[in-house]
Chain length 290, copies 2
């Protein structure tokens, strides 16, 4: 199966991400349908021309007609959905997702699917601090990364299809990682940063905070406005990697604390030089396509 | 003394901040002169029309003609400068600064000045990840905070003058704090955030980092490109407050780690709700003028 204009795409879960997928794909000329829990989200998406058809319940007919299904659900809802309605997916259909953790999801879902249905997992690294289909915005994919996480059970065709989807959505870079490497990476680059932002915001209570802040505090706490249901679920599903990253980071911060306490200017500067070098390289690195 | 178009303003130290002060004040019609170590910075500022006169050495005549002097130097250079050339400042002159720490500087400088010269300290909370007069840009003051830190030795007139300067430069908000409260605040809102950004950047070495990052990691490490001379000096000068803030933050992050390790979803969500509330209030709070 190849991604072309005849591919019938079904999106399950019209939140910020699902809605942004619908917008981007409809703009590119695909026929997009949706299943989501709330009728008002369906109505909104239809009225905005984001989808051609939608249902507030898992309609077997709509499910059975899809060639490619994108699941944009919370991890546990995704698993429950496949458990209950996976049987309606027709053989030959490829399914993918947007889930922020992989190891605990990918193998489980692959084992649950009917014969002939292939799950190729992906993580679009894009989001906003607002939620719901009404805030969906396909420009969030620009400059963002899209990570495909195949297992040994995936076919080259499905991996190719999933990467094509990432490019079609407008992601700046499409990469490939194993589910395990993805989870370690995400523990560092996304989950740890959210733990830090939350702890920074809750560790001290300053009245009239806004009068004294500079850009650095604003930057570091932007993501402290956090969807507690989604992130607590993601944290616990990636517990081992996340705890190990929190410990790495805490040890490093403690090293810095020691240099400050000991007036060890040279070691302090050495850390800062390394951080500057790495951040500068990170800014400059030209992105390359897979 | 009041700030008006006859006020002759001398800026000592034409770096990013000193240069941005010169630009902003010249635009507003003030006569601005400068003393800075490098002749090429003087030449640049003259050629750009940022100053009317400049010297690469501490010219007693230029110093003696100033009504208001702004010191935009590293803390230890500021102290050395006053030690060597403070005697050239004429009685009636008000001096101010841009130093990022206050307790260890303000009283010391006030004790060193000749009779009739008043030092009223201020901290403009603006900056960029680039340096030097060639990068100066007075738009960095927009939306930013300016904190005046008077002591018992300051006169209401000088405090007023210093606040007027903050408004004239275009700061969104001008606040007042004691040097001690300023240092505690800055330990939390600026120094701790820089320690976190550096530690986050150095705690793990990921090849091809840029292919996997989302906005959150980019936001949290923007300030990890850091001027190691300036920041190591600022950290050590505010050691006590900074270490205490690092400990507060580390304790809070450890609390979060415990909730994750224990699958304590309720406590985890509670922390996230508090962080969301605080960050949302911080976004919304309307700034009020002092």
């Amino acid at each position: 199966m190849k991604l072309d204009k005849d591919t019938k795409i079904l999106i399950v879960g019209l939140g910020l991400l699902g809605g942004s997928y619908a917008k981007a794909l409809t703009k590119k000329g695909f026929t997009v349908t949706a299943i989501t829990r709330s009728q008002s989200s369906v109505d909104y998406a239809l009225s905005e021309g984001m989808i051609t058809e939608g249902r507030a319940e898992p309609d077997p007919g709509l499910i059975g007609r899809a060639d490619l299904i994108v699941f944009a659900l919370y991890p546990h809802v995704f698993v429950e959905w496949i458990e209950n309605y996976g049987k309606y997916i027709k053989p030959g259909t490829v399914i993918t997702d947007v889930t922020g953790v992989k190891g605990c999801i990918v193998y489980k879902i692959q084992n649950m699917l009917p014969e002939g249905v292939e799950f190729i997992a992906a993580h679009p690294m894009a989001g906003r601090e607002v939620y719901g289909v009404r805030n969906s915005d396909d420009s969030i994919f620009r400059d963002a990364n899209y990570i495909v996480t195949p297992t040994e059970r995936n076919t080259p065709e499905a991996i190719r299809l999933c990467k094509d989807l990432g490019h079609t959505l407008g992601f700046a870079h499409v990469a490939e990682l194993t589910p395990e490497k993805h989870d370690d990476m995400i523990a560092y680059l996304s989950q740890l940063t959210h733990c830090i932002a939350v702890s920074l915001m809750t560790c001290s209570d300053v009245p009239k905070l806004k009068e004294y802040t500079g850009d650095s505090f604003r930057d570091l706490t932007r993501i402290a406005r956090i969807n507690e249901d989604m992130w607590s679920e993601l944290f616990l599903l990636n517990k081992k990697s996340l705890i190990s990253m929190i410990d790495e980071f805490s040890g490093e911060l403690y090293r810095m604390r020691t240099y400050i306490a000991d007036d060890n200017v040279e070691k302090l500067k050495e850390m800062m030089r390394m951080s500057t070098e790495r951040r500068a390289a990170f800014d400059k690195t030209k992105m390359q396509e897979n």
